[in-house]
Amino acid sequence: MNPRQPPPPRREWSLRSRAVRGVLYQVIALGVIGFVIWFLAHNTMENMRVRGIQSGFDFLTGPAGFDIGERLIPYESIDPYWKAFLVGVANTLRVAIIGIVLTTLLGTALGIGRFSHNAIVRGLCYGYVELFRNVPILLQLLMWYLLLTEALPDPGSPLTLGGLVFLSKGGISFPAPEWAAGHAWAVLGALAGVCAAWFYGRRAKVRFDATGDAPHKLLPQLGLVLGFAVVGWAVGGAPNEWRMPTSGEVAVTGGGEVTPEFMAVLLGLTLYTAAFVAEVVRAGIQSVPLGQVEAARALGLPRGNQMKLVILPQALRVIIPPMTNQYLNLTKNSSLAVAIGYPDVVSIANTAINQTGRAVECITIIMAVYLTTSLATSGFMNWYNKRSAIKER
């Protein structure tokens, strides 16, 4: 008896076939989406025509006509809109980058504090986390701004630290080096130092792999960076001019300045996000199996080293993905700066919308800026995540 051949799969054009229905569903979905997009675009065009709204990005080259209080790049009110947006983007990045660094430090400390042997430290860390993450970030920003602009003394009679740093309603003033060619050399030197430190780290690792003894890493690397920077500064003619703030009748003038808006945004974002980072770190540490801690203890490692050498490196793998989310949240939340008048990109766009009426274009710019930042951040963190993931055979 011949085993019966299985019937060849029938390819028929029938609604009962999964493949055919799949294609059909997709065609319908695409049709609906396409229609909705066409409908919205058509209405927008129609509305713009009726209301006489002009469209297009050509307004970007026209003069902006408004001044921006805080800028990292030179800008005046006669400069074009695109430059105003650039100033806004720089301000957003400034607060986001500094905020990410500070929030990581504070959040990690709070997260580790949840495992302290001291009940008061544990309780304080817990209280902090619950208090700060359960109140909206916008409210916290507004409260910090109010505190900084109401509770501090007037600029005429500021709080001072040895006559060098002044704190008042007008912000913080501090001595800043007068920019000179020497500082550029110092920056170049520091970059060279980073390269040298990287090479040193690689050599140290090779040595560790070969012989098992671990050379000191952090201190020599720091020394290399600082040393190269100092050499660069000396090569550049060792400029040592400082701009000193002076307390005047009505205000503090001169020196480097930090505005209360910037301080409020930075404080609010850092303290709020740190509560979430602390939870991320806590969850990461808790995910390390207890046996690892016990093994470290059995080896006689002191408590600090247990954390540094055994627990944190393993917790890091669990921590990185949610930490990325928190960094992105911080960056996106920096858009709330518009509520207290810090000139970030949303605030600039808001002004531009009011002045030109190009809502579609300005909102597109905001979204593009944040999308780019988000994608870049998550790209970097994915790379870092891959690097620190378990290397399996």
Partner: protein, 367 residues
């Protein structure tokens, strides 16, 4: 020479490891560093606690009296601002004489939310209850029928608006998010691509840009002559925003279901939708309840942003109540603390519930 039994001296009792004193020894004075921290902390507490208590309670002014408040500045809080303005803060610009309506509506909605948290009520009739309460809410808020005076939506404000925006956006976002999560795992490339783009696009931009879009661009999207209420536009914006985040949570739940479940459903000859409805989703959704709860908390906090597009929910109503009043404006910080306490009470209660339900749902897998 009879041996007499002489017992050896008893061992001393082991150190007590339970009770108050051992707890203090282990947790407050475990080693030198811990002891130092404890002493310093207690010192700070002794110094600051009276100051704080005085400011909060003992030297605070509770009567709505600006002169007394000014006199107590710096040593005592001025809760008089709350006594004076609480109705404006909590109900916004809603007509004063009609404020029993938002009060009743809010109580009904909060009662419904609390009822929905009880697992014994997770029955089909809960859906009917939702429909009934929402109808009641909008009837009370909007009026216009049953002899209630009509109140336009731009007069709605304060806590009712906060709770309504958060609740409705989550309720509407839920079905969308389930569909998007399924779409993202679908094998049909066009649908998958669309869902991925939607989720990543929304998650990559801040809520405020979505709200700007709702407020500035939605009017342009509509056919000429049709205008949509700003409340509805903002609600649509928040819903689309919440749905993208929730879709990722639901997708996490779907991924946690072993592949064998889907294969078993296929073997039984269930269609795609039957398999999802009867096998996959019931298991996946039970897993993601805590995640959805957390999403609800963050949306509840995020509703405070609608004040930037001039809807006067809790935060906005507070600004409205104080910014134009020169007498009370100096005591804004007390008003901020008041609404912060309201937000905190809601969010903290919800996060406790989320932890509890997580423990309950895990009961079958933990010992």
């Amino acid at each position: 020479m009879a041996d007499t039994f002489t017992p050896i001296a008893p061992r001393s009792a082991p150190i007590k490891t339970e009770g108050f004193v051992p707890w203090v020894r282990a947790n407050l004075f475990g080693d030198v560093r811990s002891s130092v921290v404890t002493v310093v902390m207690i010192g700070l507490l002794v110094y600051w606690l009276p100051v704080l208590m005085n400011w909060l309670f003992f030297k605070a002014v509770f009567a709505p009296n600006t002169d007394a408040c000014q006199a107590a500045r710096g040593v005592g809080a001025c809760w008089g601002v709350i006594t004076e303005k609480y109705r404006l803060i909590i109900f916004g610009r809603y007509p004063f004489g009609e404020q029993w309506r938002p009060e009743l509506a809010t109580i009904a909605l909060v009662g419904l939310l609390v009822a929905s948290c009880v697992r014994a009520f997770w029955k089909p009739w809960l859906l009917l209850l939702w429909a009934a309460v929402l109808a009641l809410f909008f009837t009370l808020m909007g009026g216009g029928i049953l002899g209630l005076e009509p109140v336009p939506t731009d007069r709605w404000g304060g806590l009712p608006l906060t709770i309504m925006l958060a609740t409705l956006s989550i309720v509407f976002a839920f079905p969308i998010s389930v569909l998007v999560a399924l779409g993202r795992r679908s094998k049909l490339p066009a649908i998958k691509t669309f869902c991925v783009i939607y989720v990543e696009l929304i998650r990559g931009v801040p809520l405020i840009s979505v709200l700007f879009m709702a407020s500035f661009m939605f009017p342009l999207f509509m056919p000429p002559g049709i205008s949509i209420d700003v409340l509805v536009r903002v609600l649509v914006g928040i819903t689309l925003f919440a749905a993208a985040y929730m879709a990722e949570i639901v997708r996490g739940g779907l991924q946690a279901i072993p592949k064998g479940q889907q294969e078993a459903a296929d073997t039984l000859g269930l269609s795609y939708w039957q398999a999802q409805r009867k096998i996959i989703l019931p298991q996946a959704l039970a897993l993601v309840v805590p995640g959805i709860m957390n999403n609800f908390i963050s949306i509840f906090k995020d509703t405070s942003l609608v004040t930037i597009v001039s809807l006067y929910e809790l935060t906005g109503a507070m600004g409205l109540a104080l910014n134009s009043d020169a007498d009370w404006r100096p005591f804004k910080i007390e008003a901020y603390l008041f609404i912060a306490a309201i937000y905190f009470a809601f969010c903290f209660a919800m996060s406790r519930y989320s932890l509890w339900i997580e423990k309950r749902l895990n009961r079958s897998t933990t010992r």
